[in-house]
Point group: C2
Chain length 123, copies 2
């Protein structure tokens, strides 16, 4: 992590280092994170830090794709505890250099349907 | 849809109109779409158009968030048949004004876990 990194990349670097307190200064006072799949909303840095610090397991985070849209950004991140690997798709908004809000998805695997097999490859 | 729209927004507008053939000219000859959840890869405009044209149901598409990173982009899209509503989180790369490749997630709902209830609101 470097000081001139984008705040969203710094957040993921700090998560990767399990430095949750270090994330707080990156967040806007009005910070809100939404997880639409579970209809959960985390409001404020204190709740966000506490939730992540209490998340079970030791997870490493690796950003696979980063889209920098200026006042908005998006990340595709691999989050793994060495056995289970999941992906996060996150949409961020920035305000005055701070992370203002985010909407984040945690997609799960599912079996490839048969009906479309003729048009796809498997990997 | 307007002619000067970003290719990714045009793609979603055409999907919304069920004009799948209209999508083909937006795609690079080397176009590849990946769905990591099902480990499916769709290679080439013909397969992508055919798969979507054969997708069961009549779906409308509404882009909720669009992050324009120049050579990359990301979209959060609501896709609904009027009864079932799902979200797509898509990461795009552009090449010479054409959509070169994409990685797309289709997250499903899940119940909010009890352990983190003290730090979240429900919506």
């Amino acid at each position: 992590m470097t000081a001139d990194q984008h705040p969203v990349l710094r957040l993921w670097s700090l998560f990767d280092a399990f430095d949750f307190d270090g994330v707080a200064p990156l967040l806007h006072p009005g910070f809100v994170m939404e997880w639409p799949q579970s209809r959960e909303r985390i409001r404020g840095a204190a709740n966000f830090v506490a939730l992540n610090a209490n998340y079970p397991g030791r997870w490493r985070c690796r950003v696979l794709r980063f889209v920098d849209g200026g006042a908005t950004a998006a990340t595709e991140t691999e989050v793994s505890d060495g056995q289970v690997s999941v992906r996060a798709a996150s949409f961020w908004t920035l305000d005055d250099g701070l992370i203002r809000d985010a909407v984040e998805y945690w997609p799960e695997s599912y079996p490839a349907p048969d009906w479309r097999a003729r048009w796809v490859e498997r990997f």
